[in-house]
Structures are given as structure tokens and as C-alpha cells.
């Protein structure tokens, strides 16, 4: 494989609703800043790849207009995944392996303010067997949390501690809140936001954290056909990405507090690993951006001194599809 480093990153502010910037403007801002951070010009870019969702944006071909923000003239080499931007980064990393281009720009954008995200996510469920039951994402996450409790892998206090650490709150008082979907409480859910993020990848071994490994795997969609108390795809993806040895910081894309516990356990992360120092999705969860943000936050952790950081992205009900990226100081 050709060595690839993360040469620049950028993100917008993440707020509950940002009606002042349209998607094109958000993409323009983050791609410009990420390139500036990398010390590169648009003319240096050999490939562009983005991640977004038409259902999140409420219209077909929503990525077409956002593309205007990246400056696609003269014509560029470009692709798009209908996925979180972390998978756009995977396609860009793959494209750099082809050998003819050396710099790639990745971006992702999403809105929580355009419509009820829970309803949109429910549309991901099997339309023949599961969607008609209309299980909402909080209730699906609660199934996972219940399994962790039943197996003695966690307590409700553990979930509260995750939220307290992410948001700077008091865990004991969080436990006083009523259950919203037992055993989860309203504060166990992600804080949904609008925003965009961008990453610049460059072939080489210097100038930013090195992508030591990147891999992704999907589990069965059907809730009865996999162990909801575990994440085999996360564990196996991490193994393919070079393992967890020496990891100092892990940024896990766990929209619900109990999923932090679940993922840390699936990955076998010890107490020495700092998990989600950024606060993760509990402080800012932008659809299609949140996974890419974990790679960005892991990048920042390495820049701040960590020798190895692990970034994880997830999509689908109950963490169905998982990507792991191992970053090492160059």
C-alpha cells in the first residue's frame, strides 16, 4: 500500500440548527480551511470524495449542489458515497492507492434541523419486516443497553458516567432522570447538530498522522440475527486495521451512551485508553459527518501528542456497519 497521511482537517461549528449557511457554503468553508491547513491549493488536489444522505437533506441528488462548494472546475476526479464521510475517506484512501494522484479531499455534510432525524433513521430499517413496526433509534439502542445490563457488562451508572464526562455534568443527578426508553434516559441520546467537515489526504510519510490501517465491515441488518450486545464487525475491522496495541486515544462513533461501553468492550480497550476526549456524538452528532469527525478528532489527538489513536465510525441500526482507522504519529 502507498503510505497516506492526514495533512489537513477542518469542520464547521456544530449547532442544533444553522440556517445561515447552506450546504454549499459549509463545504466551501471546510474544504478551503482543510487545504490551507495542509498548505495545499485546489490545483494540487487529484481526487475528491464526499459523503451525505439524500434522506437527511430531504431531496434527491442533494450532493450535486454541495459539490459547487469544492470548486469542480476545471473538471475534477470525483466520487460520492451515500454514507458517512468516514467511508468517503476510505474510498479516497483507496483511490490514492491507484498511483496516479497524490492528494485527495474528503468532505461530508448533514443537517439535523431539516426534519426529525429519528424518523429518517427509521427509514433505514428493512421495509418488509422491521420498518412497519416503527422502532425508533432510542428504543433500538435501549435493546443493546439492556443486554449489557443483563450480562453484567455495565450498570446504568456507567451510562450516566459516559454522559457526565462528555457533557461536564454530574452523573449522580443524571440518574435521577426518568427512563425515556428503559434503561436509557433522554440524556443518553446524541446531541443532534448541523454542520460539515473536511479532511485532506496526502501520499507520504510526513506532514500529519499516518493512516496505519483502515478497514470496515458490515454485520447482519436483522436485529435477531446478530448479538446486539457485541460488535463483531468493529472488533474484526480493528484487527484488519492493525489492531489496538498501543492505542492512547479512541474516538468512538457511539450516538448513545451505552454504545460507548459496548464498543470499548468489543475493542478490548483498557482503562489506559482515553475514550472520546472530544465528547463524541453525545455533544455533536451530525448525520453523515459524525464518523468522519471521529477521524478528525483522532488526528487532533495525535497532533497533540498521542502516538497512536483509533477512530471508529458507525452507521445503521444498532451499530450495524463499522469502520476503524488506526492513526499513528508520523
Amino acid at each position: 500500500m502507498r503510505p497516506v497521511v492526514i495533512a489537513g482537517v477542518a469542520n464547521t461549528a456544530f449547532v442544533a440548527a444553522n440556517p445561515d449557511l447552506d450546504e454549499t457554503e459549509m463545504v466551501e468553508e471546510v474544504t478551503r480551511k482543510a487545504l490551507a491547513e495542509a498548505g495545499l491549493q485546489r490545483s494540487d488536489v487529484g481526487f475528491v470524495c464526499s459523503g451525505s444522505s439524500d434522506w437527511v437533506m430531504g431531496r434527491a441528488f442533494s450532493f450535486v449542489q454541495a459539490l459547487e462548494g469544492v470548486g469542480a472546475w476545471p473538471p475534477i476526479r470525483e466520487s460520492h458515497v451515500e454514507m458517512d464521510g468516514a467511508w468517503a475517506l476510505y474510498e479516497a484512501w483507496l483511490r490514492l492507492q491507484h498511483g496516479d494522484v497524490d492528494v485527495a479531499v474528503v468532505y461530508a455534510y448533514g443537517r439535523s434541523s431539516y426534519g426529525p432525524v429519528d424518523d429518517t433513521l427509521t427509514l433505514q430499517l428493512d421495509p418488509y419486516t422491521t420498518k412497519p413496526l416503527e422502532p425508533d433509534p432510542l428504543s433500538l439502542a435501549a435493546l443493546q443497553a439492556r443486554l449489557l445490563l443483563d450480562r453484567g457488562h455495565a450498570t446504568e451508572a456507567d451510562f450516566a458516567a459516559v454522559v457526565a464526562a462528555a457533557r461536564g455534568l454530574d452523573a449522580a443527578s443524571l440518574l435521577q432522570a426518568p427512563h425515556a426508553s428503559s434503561p436509557l434516559r433522554a440524556h443518553d441520546a446524541p446531541f443532534r447538530t448541523d454542520g460539515a467537515a473536511a479532511v485532506v489526504l496526502r501520499v507520504g510519510t510526513t506532514g500529519g498522522p499516518r493512516i496505519a490501517g483502515i478497514a470496515h465491515l458490515v454485520d447482519s441488518h436483522h436485529l435477531g440475527l446478530r448479538d446486539l450486545g457485541d460488535s463483531a464487525s468493529t472488533r474484526n475491522a480493528a484487527a484488519r486495521a492493525g489492531g489496538t496495541a498501543g492505542v492512547e486515544v479512541a474516538e468512538l462513533h457511539a450516538p448513545y451512551s451505552a454504545q460507548v461501553t459496548l464498543l470499548a468492550r468489543a475493542l478490548g480497550l483498557g482503562p489506559e485508553v482515553r475514550v472520546n476526549p472530544s465528547g463524541g456524538a453525545l455533544v455533536a452528532d451530525t448525520p453523515m459527518v459524525s464518523g468522519l469527525m471521529r477521524i478528525i478528532e483522532a488526528t487532533r489527538a495525535v497532533r497533540a501528542g498521542a502516538r497512536v489513536a483509533l477512530a471508529h465510525a458507525s452507521t445503521g441500526p444498532c451499530l450495524q456497519h463499522n469502520l476503524v482507522c488506526r492513526l499513528e504519529a508520523s
Partner: protein, 377 residues
């Protein structure tokens, strides 16, 4: 980068409504045929790449997630590509890179659309913020561009009718094709209703349910002869700015130059091509844009693009005969590969050694091409 072989190809019977199958059933019909062609089984596949056009077409968000089981992706990497109408081509190219780079040895790419689940005209006509709504679907968007081509080149109006007839007669030799119109003639095309000037009813593509699957591998698999990927390219330009030439987009021309450069050949070397022609006039337009002919309409008029001509275009019947949107691009790539494998059946063109597959999407702004050959590059 190592050479990539196309060792398995499968497609569904395409129809307006495939009420006999679910979405999983539709994609499995194509995949099973591709695996059989490749002499492989589900467990032999290392990774899956799925492409389709907007999820609004079926009313399911990110359907690759619920289809993961049906397409044999569980426990494997699964990517979902969406680059508008060019997506079938882009999906095949991502799969090619997965094998060529050495990341995986055997990759399944699958593209599909089940348009009967929804209303494509509605899904295609969602208004963009801050822009006047067109609300005319694809035909309304492309008709003025076609009119401009006619104005520029002085092409006579029967050119579009000739293409409409040619592709539908070609489709009679393709058992998978949606439209089977044995009685079509230039007169019936001319007499069909004018939908969006200058496009007549019989000059448009159908709305289809269908899927296409391709197995890409580092080595030949099974007993059938593979095609070899000689080059791939993707190019994109913005939809909205005054400097664009929508009749002959710079991105399309650049995409062709890229793919010829990577394949190390010239337009004159291409024996057959499968071009993305959803409206008849796009055949002469793409012939010029891709550098295959200096005057596209004169080539059509002279019969050069017919099955018996010097450069057969869309011997399969093309998009004009089957259009499951997300799969249409991959069908072009797959049909090009079938030709150089000698496995195109009744629509096989003799002595096809090098073939081009082409797809475009959005407002003539997303392009994907590949060149495949019978010989290992």
C-alpha cells in the same frame, strides 16, 4: 497496480414492474447469475460495492444496510456509491480499484433500481433551495440541450428517430431488455407524441426495475473467458455556471481523454461501445464529446453505429430499451465486457476486442468510463 479481470456478469430481466420479486429478490437474481458466470459462490467474495441512484426512488434510506444479508455482504466490507446516473459505472470503478490496489482479490459490484416502488418523476423533481423549480424531470432538463446541439450542427431531425429505431431493434436480440418493440419504424417514432421539444415519446428511455452485478477478480475464475480492464476514469464538473458547455461537457471529454490515456489506446481502436443514451439524440452528442466521431450525426446517418457498422453503439439496446437508473451505467460497463468476452449471445458483435462502457449523470456533469479488452493488459 495489478490487472483486473471481469470474470462474472449477471443481470435481471428488466421490466416496468417486477412485482414478482422483492428488492432483495431483484438484486439476488443478478448476483446469482454473475456468480455462476464467474464459477464462484457467495463465500468466495471478499467485499461488496453497491451503487444506486437516489434512495427516494424506493422510499428506503441507505438500502444497502437492509440488503447486506441478501447480497452476501455480512462480515465483509460494504461500500455504497451514489454519483447520480453515472453511479453504475462509478461503482464498477471503485470495485476495480479494490482489486487493482491489492486490497481484495474478488469483489462483487451490484447496481440496481426498483423504480416501481416510487415515482421517479417526483423524486427527480424535488426543488433545490434558492433556484427556480424545473419540475419537468430529466426530459425537460435535457431537451433544450438537445435543441442546442441541433442548432449548432445543423443535424436533420430524423437523426434522433434513427437512433430510437436502431436501439429498439437491437434490443430484440437481448432477452433481458425491457422494451421489445418489433414493429418500430422511423414513421412510428415520428408519429409518437412530442413530450419535450424535440424529444418524442419513442425517443425516450423507459422506467425500469432491474439490477446488474459484476465480479471483478485479480485472476480469471471459472470456465468462461474474462474481460480485462484496460482503463477507468471518472470526471465531474459543476451543474451551474455560465462557462459550462452542456452540449459537450468538458468533464465528459476529459473523462474520455483520461481513460484512453490509461488504456494506452485511441478512439480508433474501439471496436464497440455502450454509451449512456437515455434520449436518442445523446448518441450523436456523446460520439462527439468522447472523441469517437468528429460528426456524431453524420456517423448515425451513415449507419456507422448500427450492428453492421464500423462502430456499433449499444448493441444491447442500451438505456433506450432498459433503464433501471442506478443499474443503467453498470449495464453499459457490463455489456461492453460481454462483447469482448464473446458472451453477448444474439447481440454479439464479431471481432470485438476492445470496448468502451460509458455512463453520465446529474445535469450532464458526472462521467464514468472504462475500456475493457479481450487481452490481458
Amino acid at each position: 497496480v495489478r490487472p483486473v479481470a471481469v470474470t462474472g456478469i449477471g443481470q435481471t430481466r428488466h421490466a416496468a414492474k417486477r412485482d414478482d420479486v422483492s428488492m432483495p429478490g431483484l438484486v439476488r437474481e443478478a448476483i446469482r447469475r454473475a456468480l455462476d458466470d464467474a464459477g464462484l459462490d457467495w463465500t468466495d467474495i471478499d467485499a461488496v460495492v453497491m451503487g444506486k441512484a437516489p434512495d427516494l426512488f424506493e422510499g428506503v434510506a441507505n438500502p444497502e444496510l437492509f440488503l447486506a444479508d441478501a447480497i452476501g455482504a455480512v462480515g465483509k466490507p460494504l461500500l455504497r456509491v451514489h454519483t447520480a446516473g453515472s453511479v453504475g459505472g462509478s461503482t464498477a470503478i471503485v470495485g476495480t480499484h479494490l482489486v487493482g490496489s491489492g486490497v481484495h482479490d474478488r469483489v462483487l459490484v451490484i447496481a440496481w433500481e426498483k423504480q416501481s416502488e416510487s415515482n421517479a418523476m417526483w423524486a427527480l423533481s424535488q426543488p433545490f433551495p434558492f433556484q427556480p423549480p424545473v419540475a419537468a424531470g430529466a426530459g425537460g432538463y435535457f431537451a433544450p440541450i438537445i435543441r442546442e446541439y441541433i442548432t449548432r450542427t445543423g443535424a436533420p431531425e430524423h437523426i434522433g428517430w434513427l437512433v430510437a429505431v436502431k436501439d429498439r431493434l437491437n434490443a430484440l436480440h437481448n432477452p433481458y431488455a425491457h422494451l421489445q418493440l418489433p414493429d418500430i419504424t422511423v414513421d412510428t417514432v415520428r408519429a409518437s407524441p412530442l413530450l419535450w421539444d424535440p424529444i418524442r415519446y419513442l425517443e425516450t428511455c423507459p422506467s425500469s426495475d432491474g439490477a446488474c452485478a459484476v465480479v471483478l477478480a485479480a485472476q480469471p475464475t471459472g470456465n468462461n473467458r474474462p474481460a480485462w480492464v484496460h482503463g477507468t476514469a471518472m470526471r465531474t464538473e459543476p451543474m451551474l455556471f455560465a462557462g459550462r458547455d452542456e452540449v459537450s461537457p468538458a468533464a465528459g471529454a476529459q473523462c474520455a481523454r483520461d481513460v484512453f490515456a490509461e488504456a494506452g489506446c485511441t478512439p480508433a481502436d474501439i471496436d464497440v461501445a455502450e454509451l449512456y443514451v437515455p434520449f436518442s439524440w445523446y448518441e450523436p452528442m456523446w460520439l462527439e464529446n468522447l472523441g469517437l466521431r468528429a460528426s456524431g450525426w453524420r456517423a448515425v446517418d451513415a449507419g456507422e453505429t448500427a450492428r453492421t457498422g464500423s462502430l456499433p453503439i449499444n448493441a444491447s439496446g442500451g438505456v433506450l430499451s432498459s433503464n433501471p437508473i442506478g443499474a443503467s451505467g453498470m449495464l453499459r460497463f457490463a455489456e461492453a465486457a460481454l462483447q469482448v468476452r464473446g458472451l453477448a449471445g444474439a447481440h454479439q458483435i464479431d471481432r470485438a476486442r476492445l470496448a468502451m462502457g460509458h455512463a453520465y449523470g446529474g445535469g450532464s456533469q458526472f462521467f464514468a468510463t472504462w475500456i475493457v479488452g479481450s487481452e490481458r493488459p
